[in-house]
Symmetry: C2
Subunit: 165 residues, 2 copies
DNA sequence: GCAAGATTGATGCAGGTGCATCGAATGGGG
DNA sequence: CCCCATTCGATGCACCTGCATCAATCTTGC
């Protein structure tokens, strides 16, 4: 074992790391300059707004966003502090709770999508033909599905929004 | 302005974010489980070991690694604390200094490459043919070069090592 | 019905990161 | 020669993250 990776694979690895971090940086900077909170907030608000009645168990949110439990817990704290969501107790399981998005939360999510989608277009869309974007997605999918465990969702509804991380 | 990105571009963006973070996580975990420090340390040690006499100005390291100045400063602190590098004053510019890799540093870099290259093979190399790896690199390059400013190095010597971020 | 174990969510602590700013030293223009 | 803008590197502060662990509750097997 311990076979060496080919130079091609290594080059792809380097690209993946560098390009992702640069593109993400650019997008986050654009959002920040427009006065918006970090992307993680957007993702959470989006998941909540998509949920049946605008509410989710923290544990669901955690699974959607692929972030650790404590991270979810504190993210919710911040959303609640800012009045973007509220906690509600769960009657059927007293350990748990529900997190519900507020009107302010829904509104922020929509406003962020304006800046966010513009950034995606600026840093990704405008650099790649649609056909190339598909090729890129396919190649990336081959890496992603199975490194951890489960596979990525097929490709979300992308009309008024889109998750990032 | 504010043209919307195509669904293809958006899907590629999502993949890029999710796959990168998952693959990086896997690699970092493997390194950690093998008892090694984070990848950033490897990158710094590699840059130092490649430098003409095993030493660089912090500002050079910063440019190579594309990380902020304060981050470089503190990374060097940690390397020095662990005896992997040492600071040396710069006679010709008394503001500056040189950072020199130690024997222990060179040795750690080599040992890390064993685990690191195995992880690259496991999470990237084994998932992609060389031809696909090249395609992926090309597509990523189109995103990366120009989002920030300068372009990536053509593709480093990959015999005994390779930078990551 | 109950004890053992699993699940949900919060939190103390150590450490890492971004931001702003600082002091020292350099270099360029008048 | 001197002043001022610039560069180099460090650091205080706030915040964020990962890790370990906790208390509360639920579930399972007996």
């Amino acid at each position: 074992m311990k076979r060496k990776p080919s130079t091609e694979a290594t080059a792809a690895w380097i690209r993946l790391m560098r390009v992702q971090s640069r593109v993400l940086d650019c997008v986050e900077q654009d959002l920040k300059k427009a006065g918006f909170p970090p992307l993680a907030w957007y993702d959470a608000l989006l998941e909540l707004s998509r949920a049946p009645s605008g509410e989710l168990r923290p544990v669901e949110l955690e699974r959607q966003m692929l972030i650790p439990q404590y991270s979810t817990s504190r993210l919710i704290d911040r959303l609640v502090d800012e009045g973007l969501a509220s906690r509600r107790e769960c009657k059927i399981d007293k350990r748990g709770q529900f997190v519900e998005i507020t009107e302010a939360g829904r509104e922020l999510q929509k406003r962020m999508w304006g800046a966010y989608s513009a950034a995606i277009e600026k840093y990704v869309g405008s650099k790649l033909s649609d056909a190339d974007a598909v090729k890129l997605s396919d190649l990336l999918d081959r890496l992603g599905c199975s490194c951890g465990e489960m596979k990525l969702p097929p490709v979300v509804n992308v009309n008024e929004s889109s998750p990032s991380r």
